[in-house]
């Protein structure tokens, strides 16, 4: 069953970005602390996307999911060039899973440099996820609304990321 064409699925990152861009005065450091919350969205989104678009069920997250995502990407290589947007989308999902794995393995103490890298990685990869999902959706014929929302979200997220850059 393909993914439903419901833009609600992208509400967490787009809502986050819109709040950042609309607020007149924000505390970037405080807002950046909320970024790890978006990894929960990635987890749900990845599970749904992989299951409904690619028929791949993920069980362990993030380690096993990352392995399955990369396996799927390599399998898609054997198909025609039309799978390119899907493979590009899967690389960024794999990156986001890797960010979560690394964060689990990082030093338990709050290291400011590691925290900053972690937040930067989330900003970069969520932006890419929205952009690449918009490209993937545009290449399919069943996700017009979600694709449009992802494109809008990518633009909003880019503005929010610029505001949050320390």
């Amino acid at each position: 069953m393909p993914l439903a064409d419901n833009p609600e699925i992208l509400r967490p990152p787009i809502g986050f970005a819109v709040r950042i861009t609309r607020e007149e005065a924000i505390d970037p450091a405080k807002q950046r602390e909320r970024l790890p919350g978006l990894l929960q969205f990635v987890r749900t989104f990845a599970g749904k996307l992989l299951k409904e678009e690619f028929g791949t069920t993920i069980e362990g997250y993030p380690e096993a999911a990352r392995g399955k995502t990369d396996e799927l990407r390599v399998r898609l290589r054997d198909q025609d060039a039309a799978s390119a947007p899907a493979r590009q989308l899967l690389t960024v999902l794999s990156d986001l899973m890797e960010v979560e794995i690394e964060h689990q393995e990082a030093s338990p103490e709050n290291d400011p440099a590691e925290q900053e890298d972690f937040h930067d990685a989330i900003l970069t990869f969520i932006q890419r996820l929205l952009d690449r999902f918009a490209e993937y959706a545009a290449a399919t014929d069943h996700l017009p609304k979600v694709g449009k929302e992802a494109k809008r979200g990518g633009a909003e997220f880019a503005k929010a990321a610029a505001r949050l850059a320390l």
């Binding site: 990407r73 390119a84 590009q88 690389t91 440099a113």
Partner: protein
């Protein structure tokens, strides 16, 4: 024809590899020294403690305390060096991972080459050139913290007890 950008990139990655080897050597050396110091420190301090208790000596108890703190300082200094090298290793591995991804993913990741170029540009070459100047407060970053608390905390407690026993008997 060879892409000149790719040739330059490959050469830079080779230099990052050299940096990684230097970092690994530093970690190996620091860990070896740290373990040797800890073993020596515990042996010496326990010997002093045993002597202090056997002879009810306040002075030897104090000496055991001083020995504990001296070895704590030396061990923590190496722990700080280890932490610096560990951070460095992570940052170098990050660059190498981006190279791996660029090669493995090819066109599947349109941002891979740019990410690698950015990381190569931001990379600060040289394990020792990038080592910060030592300051006392940097000892707080020494790792593994639990070992210091357990080993040197116990030795400090025992040394205080031995000194008190020596003073009272």
């Amino acid at each position: 024809m060879t892409d000149p950008d790719e040739t330059r990139r490959a050469e830079l990655v080779a230099l990052v590899h050299a940096d990684y080897d230097a970092t690994r050597s530093m970690i190996d050396g620091v860990v070896r020294t740290s373990i040797a110091l800890r073993g020596l420190g515990v042996t010496l301090t326990l010997a002093l403690l045993g002597y202090a208790v056997a002879h009810s000596s306040f002075a030897l108890g104090l000496l055991a305390l001083a020995s504990t703190w001296l070895f704590l300082y030396l061990d923590a200094f190496h722990g700080w060096l280890y932490d610096e090298a560990r951070r460095r290793a992570r940052s170098v591995e990050h660059v190498l991972r981006l190279r791996y991804q660029q090669l493995e993913r090819g066109d599947e990741d349109p941002d891979a080459r740019r990410d690698l170029d950015r990381a190569l540009a931001a990379h600060r070459f040289g394990q020792y050139l990038t080592l910060p100047r030592f300051r006392w407060r940097l000892l707080l970053r020494a790792r593994p913290r639990a070992v210091y608390v357990l080993v040197y905390g116990s030795l400090t407690g025992l040394a205080i007890a031995a000194a008190a026993y020596g003073a009272l008997t």
